[in-house]
């Protein structure tokens, strides 16, 4: 199962846990699995069928442009961070 680092602003939903594991072949499935355990978490991360525009998902040290469709492995390391742009 992937390791998911819970943003500090969402840790009120996870009882203070800053890192959990969860199943999912994609980031979308992962979030659904997290929602089952921690109701309300999906709406904080997602706006409809996409990640919120201000949120980027990083998998294994890299930002993903594929959002909820980003594939995961059993060893994936997942972070939700501010979306950024360069100049």
């Amino acid at each position: 199962m992937a390791s998911v680092h819970i943003p500090s602003l969402l840790q009120d939903l996870t009882g203070g846990a800053d890192e959990v594991t969860a199943p999912g072949a994609t980031v979308g499935e992962l979030i659904e699995a997290l929602e089952e355990r921690f109701p309300g978490l999906r709406d904080r991360l997602c706006d409809g069928r996409r990640l919120r525009p201000a949120v980027a998902v990083w998998v294994d040290g890299e930002p993903s442009r594929e959002g909820l469709l980003q594939a995961l492995t059993d060893h994936s390391d997942v972070h939700f961070l501010p979306a950024i742009s360069g100049g």
């Binding site: 680092h5 943003p7 500090s8 602003l9 969402l10 800053d18 709406d43 904080r44 991360l45 997602c46 706006d47 919120r52 525009p53 201000a54 949120v55 990083w58 294994d60 040290g61 890299e62 930002p63 442009r65 390391d77 972070h79 961070l81 501010p82 979306a83 950024i84 742009s85 360069g86 100049g87």
Partner: protein, 780 residues
């Protein structure tokens, strides 16, 4: 360092896996790492290169924008009748000529934008939110008539009090820029409206525990002003509609496809009806991604039925585009007696300008990235103020944050009596370490930059000379910096000409030599000379989707697309060569421009000969590739600077500057060095002189290069560059983006140098003569 310099033994001894570009003994490429003349060079130095303002279409009208004289005001009414009646005026536009847009966030390439904010920034609706905010526009048969016409437009304003700092904007009773804006905090929204658009937080470990274990704690507050990218070419666009309803834009932009997407959303027309033709660009640095004039020109051209050309004046560029954020940063850091960083707690509040979207998130992610710190807490606030909407500027957000973190680290080093480079080596991040904001680093080269800086003659050179008796104070400072870089989508086509050369078509505006780096990666793959690849930057109708030239992505991602397109060419040409030699393609190798049988070296045929016979062997050969690559390599830099400060005037001179950077692989070292030097030059301006200067009413007072003081060649010494190559394992040639990180260390490095010169810590940017005199108590 140039190619004639030698290897640095101490640096190589400690990190044998890295090398400088000067290590010619182990170079394994024929083209990559060389310095051919850039493919666009001749046109640019002879004046033949075509920039946006060089477009002249028959029947062109000239457009001008009327801008708000107020920083914050309600628009009661706009009367354009007198302007419309002026002979020569062919069209007038206000916001009512643009489709009304909902509050929709659109993904427009590298960044997301709120379309309603984008539209109302282009032409104000209901309120003006900064001095210079566009209110209306005119197209006329001459520029003079257009200027006369906008003066005839009567706007009735109700002036409102402006908020001009994050402190003022964050007060509970502050005037609100947007009555419905609430504070977003990762999916939650505050109940009451606020000028605080968002709050984000990074937390790791226990900062209280970390500080309790610290022998030294330093806590400081830092302030910076908005600064402009200072691109030498103003924004310019020519818009023309055809009878079938399609729109063509010729312009200066960092991203033709991003412009196409923005125009499609703003004007509610299909992307297939828009063609964006990027001309040569005179600088962007992040400031030429968002549209300003383009929708206005399109609307005017539609109304007039003629092409409309609009070019900003320099004052308009300052007032009406996107500087980077001013900021207030509070930072507390603690370290153990033996020099280990134990905890860091930061508060970042960045000015977004008139609409949400400062780079405070990126600043919070970059601030402490060079270091291993177990206990971190960073609170970051995006705050709207009555200034132009902030746009990206070269590693957006990171320079502000590094000014704070690298200054505090310098103070910790002083208290611990530790060498600042040794301290950074002790705490520096390496492969496998986890960043403060979470992701684990892959192979990186930060420690290598520190070692290279330490081994550089600059670091051990005497600070003063025997003839330095002019009363100035001398100091040396160091600082490091980090930027994440970006990947993104790119497309390339490579077609083989009958003379064996390659037409290489790609979609990345060439700002810093990327046509050359793309061509060189293609040439290396095919065993050709760089000049045998002819790169062309295409418009949106001629190349597949390509994201902006920004985020230090182009040599990485577009270069990768060119590499893959070349691989496609190689496969096809191998099959053709095999057919001509009557052997299996699996039997052939391509090296040095020649296909040779692995089994019989007598069986060979040149690439150029195969190219000359394509008609006989199956027709044209065109390779293509689209990429959205992973494996983006992050960037680190370490800088060393010597300054002299005149204690009577407060003026700081840069005496010597050395920029060290891990670039992964320098495709064309001259253009890598150029990026490093350019970033440093901008960082020096940011450090010493540049700021947006406002009066109490929020009017910008220094909207010209006379009063907005950017460095010239008279202000800077030769900037020495050290290219460190720790190849990025994620890229075929090891490339890391190089363009942005060099702007991150300079303000902190210079602040540290000034401290070591005069004994006073500077915590405000710019460190102008006035600020230095004020900090040293000479203006009381």
């Amino acid at each position: 360092m140039r190619e004639s310099d030698g290897v640095i033994p101490a640096h190589r001894a400690r990190f044998p896996g890295s090398k400088t570009v000067t290590d010619t003994k182990t170079r394994k490429y024929q083209v990559i790492g060389t310095r051919p003349i850039r493919h666009d060079g001749v046109d640019k130095v002879t004046g033949r290169a075509r920039y946006g303002a060089d477009i002249h279409l028959p029947g062109t009208l000239y457009g001008k924008v009327l801008r708000s004289p107020h920083a914050h005001a309600r628009i009661r009414s706009i009367d354009t009748s007198k302007a419309e009646a002026l002979p020569g005026v062919k069209a007038v536009a206000t916001a009512k000529d643009q489709p009304a847009l909902a509050d929709k966030i659109a993904d427009l390439g590298e960044a997301v934008m709120n379309l309603r904010d984008l539209a109302t920034n282009v032409l104000a609706v209901g309120k003006v939110l900064y001095h210079g905010h566009a209110v209306a526009a005119v197209a006329a048969t001459s520029l003079e008539i257009a200027e006369e016409a906008i003066a005839l437009i009567e706007v009735d304003y109700e002036v409102l009090p402006p908020v001009l700092s994050v402190e003022a904007a964050m007060q509970p009773d502050a005037p609100l820029l947007h009555p419905t804006l609430t504070t977003r905090s990762l999916g939650q929204q505050s109940e009451t409206p606020s000028n605080i658009a968002s709050h984000s937080k990074i937390k790791k470990g226990d900062v209280d525990a970390g500080f309790s274990q610290s022998a030294v704690i330093v806590e400081r507050e830092f302030k910076t002003s908005p600064v402009h990218q200072g691109y030498i070419e103003p924004h310019t666009v020519t818009a023309q509609w055809s009878e079938d309803g399609s729109l063509t834009l010729w312009l200066s932009t960092q991203g033709a496809f991003s412009v196409r997407d923005q125009i499609a959303e703003l004007l509610k027309i299909p992307v297939s009806q828009i063609r964006v033709v990027p001309l040569e660009i005179g600088g962007g640095f992040g400031g030429k991604i968002q549209v300003y004039l383009e929708p206005v020109a399109a609307v005017l051209a539609k109304k007039a039925g003629r092409p409309v050309k609009m070019t900003m004046t320099r004052a308009e560029v300052f007032m009406g585009t996107g500087p980077t954020s001013g900021s207030t940063i509070r930072l507390k850091m603690g370290a153990s007696q033996d020099g280990r960083l134990m905890a860091a707690q930061a508060y970042l509040a960045y000015e977004a300008g008139a609409y949400p979207g400062s780079p405070v998130g990126a600043g919070s992610m970059c601030m402490l990235a060079p270091y291993n710190i177990e206990n971190v807490q960073i609170d970051a606030y995006d705050v709207v103020v009555n200034k132009p909407k902030a746009a990206a500027y070269r590693a957006p957000g990171a320079t502000n944050a590094a000014f704070a973190s690298e200054s505090v680290i310098d103070e910790i080093c002083e208290r611990l009596e530790m060498d600042p480079l040794e301290f950074r080596l002790k705490n520096g991040a390496k492969e496998g370490d986890r960043r403060a904001d979470g992701p684990v680093f892959p192979r990186i080269g930060y420690l290598e930059t520190l070692e290279a800086a330490k081994a550089h003659p600059h670091y051990s050179a005497p600070l003063t000379r025997s003839d330095d008796s002019d009363g100035r104070k001398y100091g040396r400072g160091v600082a490091s910096g980090f930027w994440m870089n970006y990947g993104g989508q790119s497309t390339a086509y490579a077609s083989v000409n009958s003379d064996g050369t390659i037409n290489l078509v790609e979609g990345s505006t060439d700002i810093g030599g990327t046509r050359a780096s793309s061509a060189m990666q293609c040439a290396e793959t095919l065993g050709l000379a760089s000049e045998d690849v002819k790169p062309v930057v295409a418009d949106t109708g001629s190349i597949g989707y390509t994201e902006v030239t920004g985020g230090s992505r182009t040599t990485f991602a577009t270069g990768w697309a060119c590499f893959e397109a070349a691989q496609d060419v190689k496969r096809q040409m191998t099959e053709r060569a095999a057919r001509l030699l009557k052997i299996s393609p699996d039997d052939l190798d391509l090296a040095g421009g020649v296909f040779t049988s692995k089994k019989d070296s007598e069986k060979s045929i040149g690439f150029k000969e195969v190219a000359a016979r394509l008609g006989e062997t199956g027709g044209p050969v065109v390779g293509r590739a689209t990429v959205q690559p992973k494996g983006v390599g992050v960037a680190f830099a370490t800088h060393v600077v010597d300054v002299a400060v005149d204690p009577e005037t407060g003026k700081t001179d840069i005496l010597r500057y050395t920029a060290v950077q891990d670039v992964g692989r320098a495709i064309h070292p001259s253009y890598v060095e150029g990026q490093m030097q350019g970033g440093v030059a901008q960082g020096v301006g940011w450090a010493l002189n540049e700021e947006y200067y406002y009066d109490d009413g929020g009017r910008l007072l220094n909207a010209s290069f006379l009063d907005y003081r950017m460095p010239t060649c008279l202000d800077l010494p030769m900037i020495d560059t050290v290219i460190v190559e720790v190849p990025n394992p994620g890229h075929p040639f090891g490339v890391r983006g190089v363009g942005e990180v060099p702007i991150v260390p300079p303000p902190a490095a210079i602040a540290n140098a000034i401290y070591h010169a005069i004994g006073t810590r500077m915590n405000v940017l710019p460190m102008s003569p006035r600020e230095v005199l004020e900090a040293t108590g000479q203006l009381d």
